[in-house]
């Protein structure tokens, strides 16, 4: 067991994946010699060589498209998109090719690729560096979408994603890269597509993922001081969603609040609300509420604190839920 940052945990997980399977390759801009702009891939090129840890030319479509060719030939590419806002040039390759190759080939051709994307805001960045585009990918059949919220999950989930024969979009909450946590590199990990109850509670369920998990845990602590017991569920997997865990929690508490940075309209919260009202209709004491980014392009960093859900907005939603 050791304490490490999420960045180090990802680095360790990637190192282990590279060591365990010679077919695993990394590719992306600046990931080799520099070790990545967030140092996630630091030291890996020196250890595994330029053939396996590749500095790519600057073109996201090219990075993903060539990775398709490599994957079709039996390699397991793990490509990095440098920032969330730069995934869009690769969107066509991901949605038109990566997600569909298995479907169009009767299951014969799989694309066992991982696309790593640092995402989310709260780091005072300029435009295009604080996006949350996960819904576009969760909406695409054929892809899997996961996001760790802490170093332990980061360490294990990256390895599990690499080992999966399906393409996985791996969203890394960049504002949490430097936060530390305990990582047991020998423990049996949770299955990749399972949600986790982070803190149990009885009065309401907070459903969240990625950077907002920590925010929700802090909100639960504050709520406890007001005599309210909140259950925080880290979804971990956005596609597929762990329906059973979500429904079990909401049936127990009768109240759900979804929290995510991404724009509210047509975000993951909308899908969760739809599924919950369909399956838990008779157990709901209040409508499913969502605390999300507003329906704006991500604003200038000076006002991002007001844009992003925080402890107060989460608890305000809990208040409204409990008032029903």
């Amino acid at each position: 067991m050791s304490t490490m940052t999420m960045a180090k945990a990802l680095n360790a997980g990637l190192r282990r994946a590279l060591a365990d399977d010679p077919k695993v390759l990394l590719a992306g801009e600046d990931i080799g010699r520099l070790g990545g702009v967030f140092r996630i891939t630091e030291g890996l090129q020196a250890e595994f060589g330029e053939d396996r840890v590749i500095d790519s030319p600057l073109g996201e479509a090219g990075i993903v498209g060539t990775a398709v060719g490599l994957a079709l030939r039996g390699f397991r590419p793990v490509v990095e998109i440098q920032f969330d806002g730069f995934v869009y040039p690769a969107f066509d390759q991901i949605v038109s090719q990566v997600s569909r190759m298995r479907f169009r080939s009767h299951g014969r051709l799989g694309v066992p690729m991982v696309v790593r994307i640092p995402y989310g805001g709260g780091i005072g960045a300029i435009e295009h560096h604080s996006e949350s585009p996960e819904a576009y990918f969760a909406h695409t059949p054929g892809l899997k979408v996961v996001t760790p919220s802490n170093p332990l999950d980061a360490y294990w989930m990256i390895q599990q994603a690499v080992a999966d024969d399906d393409p996985v979009i791996f969203f890394e909450p960049k504002r949490r890269y430097h936060e530390k946590g305990e990582v047991d590199v020998e423990a049996e990990p949770l299955p990749l597509y399972s949600a986790r109850v982070v803190t149990p509670g009885t009065d309401a369920t907070l459903l969240t993922y990625g950077p907002m998990v920590r925010t929700c845990v802090q909100a639960a602590v504050a709520a406890a001081e007001e005599g309210r017991s909140l259950e925080v569920v880290d979804l971990r997997s956005l596609s597929p969603l762990d329906d059973e865990a979500v429904f079990a929690s909401v049936r127990r508490t009768g109240r759900a609040v979804v929290v995510h940075e991404a724009v509210g309209t047509l975000g993951l919260g909308a899908e969760l609300a739809a599924r919950i009202q369909q399956e838990c209709f008779y157990e709901l004491q209040a409508p499913v509420l969502r605390v999300t980014g507003y329906d704006l392009p991500y604003p200038p960093s000076r006002v991002e604190d007001g844009y992003l859900p925080d402890l107060d907005r989460v608890l305000d939603a809990v208040d409204r839920s409990l008032a029903h």
């Binding site: 059973e244 429904f247 049936r251 127990r252 009768g254 399956e279 008779y282 709901l284």
Partner: protein, 459 residues
């Protein structure tokens, strides 16, 4: 013999024009020989023959507009020539759906009709029997959609009696409107026995539980120590609660004795009218109408206080509550927009309400949103009293027993005593919203109408 139907020449077109035939009846054609040229919305297209043989019939004229799927030519063996009757279609509307002659395989017939935009139908596909009878094919899904009998595996079985310490209590299942009713009636859903599909609690279940019903769990307990103990539940609990709340309201009462003989005569007249046939006509309806008319002149009697904004709210409509003694206790269902009803409509509304109240089947919506209440204590033989306004309302008015009493009628030298039908009308009002003058004026107006209903025309 094969019949060639006009295929969709490309991407969703529904019809095409025959430009020119390249073959004639009697010609021998090979597969892929060009049969005709058509014009679509996009271009000129030559159509090759799918069949080899002799042209037996040409079924569409040059210049005709033909729908995709319509037969245009028959090709077969020479000896089949006499069997076919050419019936060229005229220009304009093409022939309707093709006859049953099936070329090649059924699958290709569907495709010969083309890939065009399917026009769709306006009728539903017929279902087999009851939808609920059709179980899913092969393996039953682990978690079905709202199939009545499926219990999600995650939910603990509702346990009666002993519940293990680690098992959470079963969650009562009720949809949101039912939960609202339960809250309004002060019912704890956990104590309600569900009778709805999938073990859900219905609104009727809640109301039954509120009324004390016949469930043994809510039965009156056996007397002990010379005392009887009755749990405070449901409607009685609600009454207790709301009457306690009304203690906070400063109330004043006023009453007036009214000669309602003219009202009784009106009622006789109404009973004989055809439009009142089958309706129970009583002074209560006139009383209700009088209240609504009087409210128009003194709307404060219909108001309420909004604490959040510290304002007096004067609604346009009168949602007239009528206090009803039901087997479950006091309920006050209200008639929405009673002010907009004429006497006939009001009579009907009251008629509809009475049996519902008696059977405890008042819909939850009728139990909320009231703005003014009337109560008929006269049915108990009581003259009057100091009624307590319904929670949140500014006033309540009650009608006492109508008795025959000696009454002074006439003026001057014609002054005399006659037996008249007389009753007492009492109002209690929230003195924060209604002052004495308003209350008295209101009462006087009601009295005026009840004593001479024709004067209602003045309102």
């Amino acid at each position: 013999m094969n019949e060639f139907k006009l295929p969709d020449p490309g991407e969703g077109l529904l019809e095409a024009d025959i430009v020119s035939w390249k073959v004639a009846v009697g010609d021998t054609v090979a597969v892929n020989d060009i049969l005709l040229e058509i014009e679509t919305a996009k271009s000129l297209v030559e159509l090759p023959s799918p069949y080899a043989g002799v042209v037996l019939a040409i079924l569409a004229d040059e210049g005709a507009t033909v729908e995709v799927g319509a037969p245009i030519i028959r090709i077969g063996r020479p000896d089949e020539a006499s069997a076919s009757v050419p019936s060229p279609s005229t220009s304009g509307a093409g022939p309707a759906t093709p006859p049953a002659v099936a070329p090649a395989s059924p699958a290709s017939e569907a495709l010969l009709v083309g890939y065009g935009a399917k026009s769709g139908t306006a009728t539903r596909r017929p279902r087999k029997g009851q939808v609920a009878d059709a179980p899913p094919a092969a393996s039953v899904p682990a978690v079905a959609e709202p199939a009545p009998v499926t219990v999600p595996p995650a939910e603990p079985a509702p346990a009666q009696g002993a519940v293990a310490a680690v098992e959470p209590a079963p969650v009562p299942r009720a949809k949101p409107p039912v939960r609202r009713v339960a809250r309004d009636l002060g019912v704890d859903l956990a104590t309600v026995a569900p009778t709805g599909p999938g073990g859900t609690i219905t609104a009727d279940d809640v109301v039954a539980a509120a009324g004390g019903g016949s469930a043994p769990a809510r039965a009156v307990s056996v007397p002990q120590d010379g005392e009887r103990r009755v749990p405070l539940k449901g409607v009685r609990r609600q009454m207790f609660r709301s009457m306690t709340a009304s203690l906070a309201v400063p109330q004043a009462t006023a009453f007036v004795e009214v000669d309602v003989t003219a009202t009784m005569q009106l009622i006789d007249t109404l009973k004989r009218r055809r439009d009142f046939t089958g309706l129970r006509v009583s002074p209560l309806a006139v009383f209700a109408k009088a209240a609504c008319l009087a409210i128009e002149r003194v709307p404060e009697l219909n108001s309420r206080y909004d604490a959040a904004s510290d304002e007096i709210v004067l609604p346009q409509d009168v949602n007239l509550g009528i206090a009803a003694a039901t087997p479950r206790g006091l309920l006050v269902p209200n008639i929405k927009g009673a002010n907009r009803m004429n006497l006939l409509e009001l009579t009907r509304a009251v008629n509809d309400l009475v049996p519902l109240a008696r059977e405890g089947k008042v819909p939850p919506a009728a139990l909320s949103g009231g703005t003014f209440t009337i109560t008929n204590i006269g049915v108990f033989g009581v003259d009057g009293g100091t009624p307590i306004p319904n929670e949140g309302e500014a006033a309540i008015m009650c009608l006492g027993t109508i008795r025959r009493k000696p009454w002074v009628v006439g003026t001057g030298e014609h002054e005399r005593i006659e037996p008249r039908s007389v009753c007492t009308v009492t109002i209690t009002f929230d003195h924060r919203l209604v002052d004495g003058e308003m209350g008295s004026k209101f009462l006087a107006d009601v009295s005026t109408i009840m004593s001479d209903p024709a004067l209602a025309l003045l309102f």
